[in-house]
Amino acid sequence: MTNLNSRQRKMSYGIGIILLLGPIVYLGFPAEQNAADSSSGGLGKLAQMRQQYDLGEATLGKVDPSSSAMNLVLLGLRGPAASVLHLKAIEYQEKKQWAKLKTTVDSIILLQPHYVQIWKFQGWNLAYNVSREWDKVDDRFYWVKEGIKFLKLGTDRNQTIPILFHNVGEVISSKMGISDEKKFFRVFFTQDPDPKFEVSPGQRGPDPAINEEGKDSYLVAHDWFVKANEKDDNDDLIGVKGMTHVFFRQGPAKSLINYAEMRTKEGAFGEHIAAWEAGFKSWMEDYGREEFLGLDDKVYTLAPSEEELKQQAERNGITLMAQRKLWESNVKMVNFDFWRRYASAEMAPVTLTLHKTFFDAKQLYMQGKGFDRLDPASGMTVASEAQVKLEEAMQRWLEAKQEFSTMYEDSRYVDEALLIVQYWQAIHQQNARPIPDDYPLKSLWVENSGKHLETEREFQRETRGRKLQ
């Protein structure tokens, strides 16, 4: 018991409060922002530290007031609520209740906006699983877009998570470029089937939410991969959570290569060499020069010169042989050399000529010009335009193989050659002529007899809808 009276006690309480106010203000005051360099200062030590170590809600990404409101209203039951919503989402997906699935997924991310796996899983789920459930291709595209938009939203909320940016690029790249519906999706990506994206009567535009500038899907994916790499650069961490770093970083270069490859297949030969050169450059100079950490955190690059190799060995404190071994194993892992040689081969004019000749030959065949013609001058039956073109393509292939012998052993080029032969044989069959005993690619055809069935299937697939004479 003290000897202070009531007034004295109250005064001492008051003084104590004032004294405590000092540290409270010092610790808890909001930080002052410096508009020039976004740094913070002044009072509010905790707020400054929050900003410095990216622990604040606002530093993670855009703040959604509805998310905060939901969390408050649940009074700490966020975990059970999220679990129930997850179970509900599974049930709705099973029962094909798409509207309820979408709202449930949206509710889940309101409760757990910074749980990266949710964004990754549900974005993938919408783009792959849910879209697959629909039958018509424009409906599938709609749900692929929903998945992409969902992931995009995830990047807004979590701007310090590089893997989410990478995921957006990956979904765009895979879905538009590799999926069964790629033929349609690539068109829809720039000309959305939804009437509300019509720019003028009869002219459809892209959905600006996923393709603001109306670019090719691989180029949009490239932009996202670049953003992902920038985020990776900015996070002061070596490596990225959720993916092997060396694979993560190849996104931009790989998408340029994929773009070049796709444009070649689509017959855009005007931009063939430029596209492949861009891909090659990005692969070698951007990706090839990046530093990665291998086993035991040893630094390596994928396209070092001899001098650089020595410097890296010194830096890592290992022998040159060990460094070379490290380099070789990682080169093999990402198949760096293959893509280098492939891009290099594709950049060459001889390859462009080969592809163009074969493409033109296929066009002629599809237009019904694979039938023998009557030469008006001589009155004799001569080979069709398609056959002539195909024989030219065979020659071009052999020329290209001479220049890039190793690369042309790859199945890509072998398959192309076999397909040329398949078309050529089909023309002979339809003109009721026997296949000649000798022709330029005969040895290749004979050596790859195991692939004949596959080649025939590919031929059937490509020539559906062919015009007859």
């Binding site: 029962k95 509207a99 709202t103 039958d135 018509k136 291709v137 349609f184 559906r464 809808g465």
Partner: protein, 783 residues
């Protein structure tokens, strides 16, 4: 929708209810009597009798005036207890719902579903806590603060207090519901994006019964499972004989709608039957580019097929298929031969057929006889009687087989008698083959194929308007019947003949009166002239007739089989039929659905094809859904008040909450467990398995005695659960209305509203009586 409509039988529900209530009343009265005796000894009888008499006196002297006063009191108390605060929460929810719900990029049908679901869920779940608390706490609180004592000292019966409480709380909750409903309706109309508002409607469906034909064309209860974990839909294979068959009943003039098809200059008004589908597509191959863009193709065939109805049931066993197929295809002579062969097998090697085959055969014969009888054609009576006779003979055989199987006896089944009856039947079929063929006409009208639009509710591609007048290319049988029908009639009228030759105006008559195309009319008359010259036809007494006395149907059938009437028109023999007159039989319409794409499947459940009557306003279905919610809330009030008459507030709250949660979320699970559909072992067995880290396939690692004890105990628990399941109401019934409205359907009155009313009424009466008795005989002290 992801559920099937369960037809509700009020009469059977009422019967079960009366039995249950009767049993419970007897138990209650008996228990009370025993307790009175136990407590008071000999004087217990008098006390019990006096109490019962007093209670019954109260029951038959209720005063509406006092009940009204108590209702008003309850109303005011509810308001005083801030029951209306729920409006504030509702308003806040609606204000901020836009943050969560509206997405103009989302498709219209998704938007409507999301908004309606949110609204109905919010209304129900907001009022629910208020209602539970009010109903469970009102009476115990009044007893605690002794305000009830001021009421019971007045000449107010305890029963009136109970009724007044329930009525008052019911009125409050209904008032709140009505206000919220109105606000919600305004909100939804304003909140929905412009392009979605047209989707806000209530489709009025008429559902049918569904069965399937497998890829071999044999009847099956379900289609194929393509691997979907959700077994709601089953599938039919494309480009095969697999079909899904819907039988719609009560199809009549009221089912016909007037629709405008097409837009702009091509728009036209059609009177017909509107069919809407919600099929699911499944592909095993990608398909052509066209099918990828347009979707999987389906085709409807409207059919009237009494042969299928009569003889379809005979195809239940492999051994019976040849007979069934022949009869179903109208090949009665062939069918007769097959039946004779079957009879021979039954006579000589009866053990080759399984008991299931005999059962299937008897069943099929019975159904055939019944269907033939229903047709009420005197010409069919002889053969119908033979079917019945064979069926009866089959019953005798099956009885012996079943008795032998059950008791292990070796009595000789009457195979010979059964075989004889089958031979007699075969003879009857052979004798009456022509009559059967003529009396059991099959009419199939294939409609144009269409591409389905999966998961797009109400999409135009999924809607087919079947015109009242159908013009289609007839198959051979239909053509023969069509021509024979015309010629029989015109023959009587003498329109076919002019002197000793076929009328020169016949070509014109065929075109004008029978709508036959000019080319085919000329072909027909040419062929008839040839037949007249050849002597197959004759003219006598100014009438054209078949020379050998055959009926016109047999004559034309013969001509068609000889390919003398191959259509000269590229469209085929186009004939016109009336949907209601020619295809609907006794109000039944049969629609077969086929998938046309090879290696693709169409998935369907019963509600996935329906006749769509004129739509009703969204508000109609919305109101019915609100009525269901109101009934649910009032049921909770009834339960809460009843329980609170005997126990304190917290106990009453938990009891009512448990009832609600079990009834809402676990009732279906409970019923599946009790019916054995849910896989797994009993409660105690499962507990042992969990403790032992074992699964049901392996079983418990205990002795046989322990296992038997556990199994017995589980049986006991199952009994308790069975009793519990009879008492706990199925609250999911009240949500069905909301599910319909969410999916854009009107709420069916008989299958949704009536069950809800029945459940409510079924609990109201016994709960009121029970609550009145409990309140009357308890001590009004809060201990």
């Amino acid at each position: 929708m992801d559920f099937d409509i369960r037809p509700y039988s009020l009469s059977s529900a009422a019967t079960s209810w009366m039995m249950l209530v009767g049993i419970l009343t007897l138990i209650s009265v008996g228990l009370s009597f025993v307790l009175s005796l136990a407590r008071n000894g000999g004087s217990g009888v008098a006390i019990f009798t006096k109490g019962l008499g007093s209670y019954l006196g109260d029951l038959f002297s209720l005063s509406p005036g006092r009940i009204y006063a108590l209702t008003k009191l309850t109303l005011l108390e509810a308001i005083r207890r801030k029951a209306l605060l729920v409006f504030v929460v509702f308003a806040v929810l609606l204000m901020f719902a836009g943050w969560f719900l509206t997405d103009t990029n989302s498709r219209p049908e998704l938007q409507v579903s999301i908004h309606v679901t949110f609204l109905l869920t919010a209304i129900a779940w907001l009022i629910l806590p208020a209602v539970i608390f009010l109903s469970c706490w009102a009476l115990p609180e009044d007893i605690r603060i002794r305000s009830l004592h001021t009421v019971v000292t007045k000449p107010a019966r305890r029963l009136e207090i109970v009724i007044g409480r329930m009525a008052g709380m019911g009125i409050v909750s209904c008032l709140v519901l009505v206000v919220m409903g109105v606000i919600g309706a305004v909100w939804i109309y304003r909140k929905l994006p412009e392009n979605s508002r047209s989707q806000l409607t209530c489709r009025v469906p008429v559902f049918g019964q569904l069965y399937f034909f497998d890829a071999d064309g044999q009847p099956a209860a379900t289609g194929i499972n393509v691997g979907d974990t959700w077994m709601y839909r089953s599938h039919i294979a494309g480009n095969s004989r697999a079909r899904a068959v819907w039988m719609f009943r009560d199809v009549n003039e009221s089912s016909i709608v007037t629709e405008t098809i097409g837009t702009g200059d091509e728009a036209k008004t059609v009177e017909g039957l509107k069919l809407e589908c919600r099929f699911e597509a499944f592909r095993t191959v990608k398909g052509s580019e066209k099918s990828v863009l347009q979707g999987v193709q389906a085709q409807y065939t409207l059919s009237s097929n009494p042969r299928e109805e009569a003889f379809g049931m005979l195809s239940q066993g492999e051994a019976l298929r040849p007979v069934a197929d022949a009869l179903r295809d109208g090949q009665f002579r062939n069918g007769s031969e097959r039946l004779k062969e079957l009879a021979t097998r039954v006579r000589t090697t009866p053990d080759e057929l399984r008991p299931a085959d005999y059962l299937g055969l008897q069943n099929g014969l019975a159904v055939a006889g019944a269907i033939l009888k229903e047709l009420k054609l005197s010409a069919l009576t002889p053969v119908q009687e033979k079917f019945d006779s064979a069926s009866n003979s089959g019953i005798a055989l099956i009885r012996v087989l079943q008795a032998n199987n059950a008791t292990g006896a070796t009595d000789k089944p009457p195979y010979a008698e059964f075989a004889e009856s089958l031979e007699t039947l075969a003879g009857g079929i052979l004798e009456n083959a022509d009559v059967l063929h003529e009396s059991l006409p099959k009419l199939e009208v294939p409609l144009p194929a269409f591409h389905i639009s999966e998961y797009h509710e109400g999409a135009a591609e999924n809607i087919t308007v079947v015109p009242r007048k159908l013009r289609f290319a007839a198959d051979y049988e239909t053509l023969a019947r069509f021509l024979s029908g015309i010629f029989e009639k015109w023959s009587e009228e003498g329109k076919l003949v002019e002197g000793s030759a076929i009328s020169s105006a016949l070509v014109d008559s065929l075109q004008k009166d029978a709508a036959v195309s000019p080319l085919n009319a000329e072909l027909l008359v040419t062929v008839l002239n040839e037949q007249l010259t050849a002597g197959t036809l004759k003219i006598s007494d100014g009438k054209l007739a078949v020379a050998d006395g055959r009926r016109w149907f047999a004559f034309f059938d013969d001509l068609i089989r000889k390919e003398l009437l191959i259509s000269q028109d590229t469209d085929g023999w186009l004939i016109e039929k009336d949907l209601l007159t020619d295809l609907v039989s006794n109000g039944f319409l049969r629609v077969e659905v086929a998938c046309l794409n090879d290696q693709m499947y169409l998935g369907m459940a019963r509600p996935d094809l329906f006749i769509r009557k004129p739509d009703r306003s969204f508000l109609v279905g919305y109101t019915k859904a609100l009525v269901s919610i109101a009934l649910m809330l009032m049921l909770i009030i009834v339960l809460g008040v009843t329980v609170s008459c005997i126990v304190k507030g917290p106990v009453a709250l938990f009891f009512t909450l448990t009832f609600f949660l079990v009834g809402q979320f676990f009732h279906e699970f409970m019923m599946r467990m009790l019916s054995g559909k849910e896989q797994g072992m009993g409660t105690l067995e499962s507990a042992v398995l969990i403790a032992q880290h074992r699964n049901p396939q392996v079983g418990m690692d205990v002795s046989s005695t322990t296992s038997a004890v556990l199994k017995g105990a589980d049986k006991g628990l199952e009994g308790v659960l069975r009793v519990f399941s009879s008492i706990v109401p199925d609250f999911s019934v009240f949500n069905r209305g909301a599910s319909f409205v969410e999916n854009g359907f009107d709420v069916p009155f008989n299958d949704c509203v009536v069950p809800a009313v029945a459940i409510f009424a079924g609990f109201l009466i016994p709960c009121v009586l029970m609550a009145g008795a409990m309140l009357k005989f308890r001590e009004l002290e809060a201990k």
